[in-house]
Symmetry: C2
Subunit: 310 residues, 2 copies
């Protein structure tokens, strides 16, 4: 406890990534280094608007002495309409260095925190409509970690995002619900019989590679290829591991295929967890693209730090 208090006294401000399912908060030094991290499962989806303030106090209260007021910069779904306080979207193309200036200030009873929620970014136009909340901060972070980078950035996940950056400028982006589609098809269609009790192992890897190759080769045939998972189990006795790998690879391959025209010659930053980033790097490698993995926490903190300075 004594140690914790001592560290916290050095914290100059609080960085928060408040997502749909979880919440991560860091005490940050003046120089932008995280001094401590707190994690909670009180994501936006579980909270009414008036519950956000108390959750922050509970998570960090013992770490901030009375009498101080720390700037608390928040990115993510806390700024959604159904979150703490809506932070209206910036429109793409968007200057990400303007994120901090567009933050909104929700009310909080605990005077030790001065919370500001960063906006998400939306994209308008027929057939182009899209939204992000949280990833824009990681992209701002990337643009400070790799100053001047121009090209595509991939953020794989439940809702994968593909973005084209020109320095601090977010030119355009697109969402592929790859992780969520995998879950829905694997759990709630006839494919569930073929994926039952699937684990990891060499057959899964083999399935992944076959699926990626199929998805990349003909993303326009995705609608006709999903059933191949079931047919491969029935006709070739493919294992659950293989089928799970194939479905996952097929969706990732089709996601990459859908955005192939965005891929340039520069090595592609992939912002994500290590397992998923490695999988996407493998798939992107099959198109000849080089990738640079970027840790998602590093990108988030770099983005919140950059926004805090603007």
């Amino acid at each position: 406890m004594a140690w914790r208090m001592r560290v916290v006294e050095l914290a100059a401000w609080i960085a928060v990534d408040w997502g749909t399912s979880n919440l991560r908060a860091w005490g940050m030094s003046d120089t932008g280094d995280p001094l401590f991290e707190r994690v909670s499962d009180k994501g936006m989806a579980k909270l009414a608007p008036d519950a956000f303030g108390p959750v922050l106090s509970e998570l960090l209260g013992d770490a901030v002495p009375e009498g101080r007021t720390l700037k608390t910069l928040i990115c993510g779904m806390a700024g959604a309409r159904q979150g703490w306080l809506e932070a209206p979207y910036l429109d793409a193309p968007a200057d990400l260095s303007a994120l901090g200036r567009a933050a909104v200030m929700p009310e909080i009873a605990d005077s030790r925190f001065a919370p500001r929620i960063l906006p998400g970014v939306c994209q308008r136009g027929l057939g182009q409509e899209d939204v992000m909340r949280g990833e824009e901060t990681q992209l701002l972070g990337l643009s400070t970690l790799q100053p001047g980078y121009s090209g595509v950035v991939v953020l794989p996940g439940t809702h994968s995002k593909w973005a084209v950056l020109e320095g601090h400028q977010l030119v355009r982006f697109s969402t592929a619900m790859t992780g969520e589609i995998y879950e829905a098809l694997g759990s709630h269609t006839v494919l569930r019989h073929s994926l039952k009790d699937a684990g990891i192992g060499p057959e899964r890897d083999e399935g992944v590679d076959a699926g990626i190759a199929a998805g990349l080769e003909a993303p326009e045939r995705l609608a006709g290829m999903i059933f191949k998972v079931r047919a491969a189990a029935l006709l070739s006795g493919r294992s659950a591991d293989w089928c799970a790998g194939y479905l996952s690879g097929l969706l990732i391959g089709a996601e990459i295929g859908a955005h192939r025209h965005w891929i340039g010659s520069a090595p592609i930053p992939i912002i994500g967890g290590s397992t998923l980033s490695a999988l996407y790097a493998r798939a992107l490698g099959m198109t000849g693209a080089e990738c640079v993995p970027v840790d998602v926490r590093t990108a988030t903190l770099a983005g919140l730090s950059a926004a805090a300075q603007h």
Copy 2:
């Protein structure tokens, strides 16, 4: 009852379409006309192998007098491995006029029925694997209703089938799980918020048309377009009706796009229920294709009649 008995005495044989969820049986005349129809919800998925015989007796027992034995020709999932008795697949390319000769004979205690289950058709080969059970009989029926027809046939549904026929020959086919994918995405992903309580009406039609156009234009971008449903609700306040229509149209458009290279110049037979067939005809019409709706019951009975004669 007297009327029913009189009609039944004319029945020369029994035609049965035994699917996953339902069961339809018809008493057939010598000339291939249905004399009566019986429907039950005792589909394959609800029955253990030894329950099929009793279900048949119960559904038709009062319609077949003792002392007679009626040939009872069955198509569909009753012939699956987990059905009454497995009827091994014919391999595509397959001569559909051989369906009757490949039928299997399950055991039944009730001597008034002599059941035979028609096989399904499978397709082997890397990335081509596929299976059908039931549709092959409808395709045989079509080949007798439109003798010599060569070209693609579309059978829309929970699992849509696309088949290329040359007369009685089933050259190749492909399954698109369009109906089931719609249900899984609309009920078990973030899209459910945008589709909640969706009904029918002009906004649905508008959404369907926009979705079909998007799916047809770029089926290779399907993975990146599914989230547009959610974005359109958030950014443009699209109604649940519109969103449901858009998702449905997008998946149908992508299904057609995935099989576009199969479409020739001949008018395309669509075997299905009237609402779904009309929807597919509208979508196919947007590619310039002409369509001929074929009632699914008519095709099934024509197929079972043809198989009964071989």
